[in-house]
């Protein structure tokens, strides 16, 4: 029998999710954006591909994939719709990671496996009014009371919150211990005392719903603390590189979408009886977009590979996220200039890229804090 090598899983994941994006997402992307609500039907379609379990082992219903494959998948989804890619990333990573790592077998059966199947929506609650980058200032508290934890406080900017079935929530357990006094807790939506605000009216990613959470003496079982006492931030640091490189992949997807449309339009649009791509200033824009996208690609996937090799490349992941998200914003901006006035029309997708790219600047760390971290990692602080 002849030996012919199989294609790599990375090639097939890219090809398969590229087709999914072209066939299922792109034709509906504008409609989803304009509807301004969580498209459960699209969430269900993505669930059928097994995407939500890509990072998890088969023992919990996942596929046993790696970070590179996860990044390829979300990059392709982001090429079609940042909203769809964002809620998929939340379901695959932040919303379920702590439940997978530290949840009980019973919690896995009741919540994790259904989330991987797409039957339950997961969310992750970190940010507070006065605590985002500054996690030590988290004021939502969890205090033990008999066999329960009592949660009080509020969270804001919580992706998927209006539609989520359960939340992984960062709470302060000992205010004297600073970052070592923080832990994650699993809180289900129907728990008495949990209030979900109405969704925010946002500039972009309008098909991802975001809102506030308020906790008024929310009582949860003792086993709902995810992880050992005081290790919440430490456990968060374990996946911070993954969160950042994933955000770089999202950025790459949006940048490619803006570039693809710009390159096509430059060869279609004529002025002075020439297509505008024949003008050197347009060529410069295309060349810079293509070059920066290639650099983003190399940074993103080199970093993802480091993670897959067991490293925790916080500096490289921070660089990749910082660079790729800024490139996404530059590409969206250049696309609006190449499209001219048409980019100002809601009839064209370019305006959506221009609005959605701003989302990338905040999640996973702002460019400003990332530059601070990178400099610190370089020994200059």
């Amino acid at each position: 029998m002849n030996k012919i090598p199989r294609p790599t899983p990375e090639e097939m994941i890219r090809k398969s999710f590229a087709r999914f994006t072209d066939e299922e997402i792109i034709p509906k992307a504008r409609e989803m954006d304009e509807a301004d609500q969580f498209p459960r039907w699209m969430f269900d379609k993505i669930a059928k591909t097994g995407a939500f379990g890509i990072r998890y082992p088969r023992s919990v219903g996942g596929a046993g994939g790696n970070t590179t494959q996860f990044c390829i998948m979300v990059e392709e989804l982001a090429r079609g719709s940042m909203s769809v890619a964002a809620f998929t990333a939340m379901q695959c990573l932040m919303g379920t990671n702590f439940l997978f790592e530290y949840g009980t077998p019973e919690q896995h059966e009741r919540l994790l496996k259904p989330a991987i199947r797409g039957e339950k929506v997961a969310s992750f609650a970190l940010t507070e009014a006065d605590a985002a980058t500054d996690l030590a200032n988290v004021k939502t508290t969890a205090r033990p009371d008999a066999e329960e934890w009592v949660i009080s406080g509020s969270k804001t900017w919580i992706t998927n919150a209006p539609v989520a079935d359960f939340f992984t929530v960062l709470c302060q357990t000992d205010k004297n211990k600073g970052l070592r006094g923080l832990d994650f807790f699993l809180i289900e939506r129907d728990t008495p005392g949990l209030y979900v605000s109405k969704k925010f009216d946002k500039l972009g990613t309008r098909a991802t719903e975001i809102s506030e959470l308020a906790f008024t003496d929310v009582r949860i079982p003792h086993e709902n603390r995810l992880g050992k006492e005081g290790q919440g931030v430490g456990n968060l640091m374990r996946i911070l590189s993954v969160i950042r490189v994933m955000t770089a992949a999202l950025s790459l997807g949006l940048a490619r979408a803006a570039y693809d449309q710009s390159a096509r339009y430059a060869m279609e649009r004529t002025q002075f009886k020439k297509h505008i791509g024949s003008f050197q200033l347009i060529q410069q824009k295309i060349a810079n977009m293509a070059t920066e996208i290639w650099a983003s690609h190399l940074m993103t996937y080199t970093t993802a590979e480091m993670i897959d090799q067991g490293q925790r490349p916080l500096k490289e992941a921070s660089m990749a996220k910082y660079y790729a998200s800024e490139v996404a914003c530059r590409c969206a901006d250049e696309a609006t200039r190449i499209f001219g006035a048409y980019s100002y029309s809601m009839e064209y997708d370019v305006q959506r890229y221009y609005r959605d790219c701003r989302f990338l600047l905040f999640g996973g760390g702002t460019s400003e804090i990332l530059q601070t971290i990178i400099s610190r990692e370089c020994g200059v602080s």
């Binding site: 029998m1 002849n2 012919i4 199989r6 097939m12 994941i13 398969s16 087709r19 059928k48 995407a51």
Partner: protein
């Protein structure tokens, strides 16, 4: 029900370039996909398996890179993949291809249903399905847009130029399908990771494996040879009529008369 699906890897574009010297398609630089109607054939096979049980085996003939197509079919849910790949198969016309595919099906043993797309987007012959059925001496239903399988028979709706035909056939039978039949599923992540592993159930068969003589397959076994492939010149003499409706109508009638085009009695 034991189902065999015939699939072909084709260039992902209808705008392929042709090598002016050889008359062959230039495939370099063009991404490859599963022939679209073959995906519908596979989807039909998977749905029938889900309803009646059994197995779905995919057979594809092509160069080594067609392994990707076979793996994609496994990722969608096929149980087993066979890639017919041998230099002896190269340059085959539809007759020689059907011979190889037919022999491969025979080697598989008992089957109930063979599914294939109506035609491939790179050749548009629509000959492979019918020829494989003839080779195997089984019934064939072509241009199928609705299909229901039951133990021992299939019930199909065939699209005809002037209507449709409802027809029932006992198994074994070969069915060629249209895109209207169903909406193919996307591969799953788990399916992709399993299909691309070295343990995935894909076999590569050569001419000796399926028991054919090399003179019966490939270019040597082809009854037809492409003499020349070219794009017909589509230059048309276009004349734009302007003015009021009455003026345009009069000019149009006069132009048609000059071309001696009769407008009825």
């Amino acid at each position: 029900m034991n189902i065999v699906v015939l699939v072909k890897q084709v260039p992902n574009t209808t705008d392929v370039k042709i090598d002016p010297k050889t008359g062959n398609l230039i495939r370099e630089g063009v991404a490859s996909i599963i022939n679209p109607e073959d995906r519908h054939g596979l989807e039909a096979g998977l749905q029938i398996r889900e309803k009646l049980g059994g197995t779905v085996t995919v057979i594809s003939m092509g160069p080594p890179q067609a392994m990707e197509t076979v793996c994609e079919c496994l990722a969608m849910g096929a149980d087993r993949g066979i890639l017919l790949s041998d230099r002896a198969f190269a340059g085959a016309d539809t007759w020689a291809t059907s011979t190889a595919l037919g022999m491969a099906v025979r080697k598989l043993g008992e089957f109930d249903l063979i599914l294939a797309g109506r035609q491939a987007i790179d050749g548009d012959t629509a000959q492979i399905g019918p020829q494989v059925a003839e080779f195997l001496r089984i019934a064939q239903l072509t241009y199928v847009r609705r299909l229901d399988a039951q133990e021992g028979k299939v019930i199909a709706e065939r699209a005809l130029e002037d209507g449709c035909e409802h027809i029932e056939a006992p198994t074994p039978v070969l069915v060629t399908v249209l895109g209207a039949l169903n909406k193919p599923r996307h591969p799953t992540v788990e399916g992709i990771l399993a299909a691309t592993s070295e343990r995935s159930p894909v076999e590569v068969w050569n001419a000796a494996d399926i028991g054919v003589k090399v003179q019966d397959v490939g270019l040597a076994g082809s009854l037809t040879h492409v003499v020349r492939t070219f794009t017909p010149k589509g230059a048309r003499d276009t004349r734009r009529l302007e003015g009021s409706a009455t003026v345009i109508a009069a000019e149009l009638l006069e132009a048609l008369r000059q071309k001696e085009i009769r407008l009825g009695e």
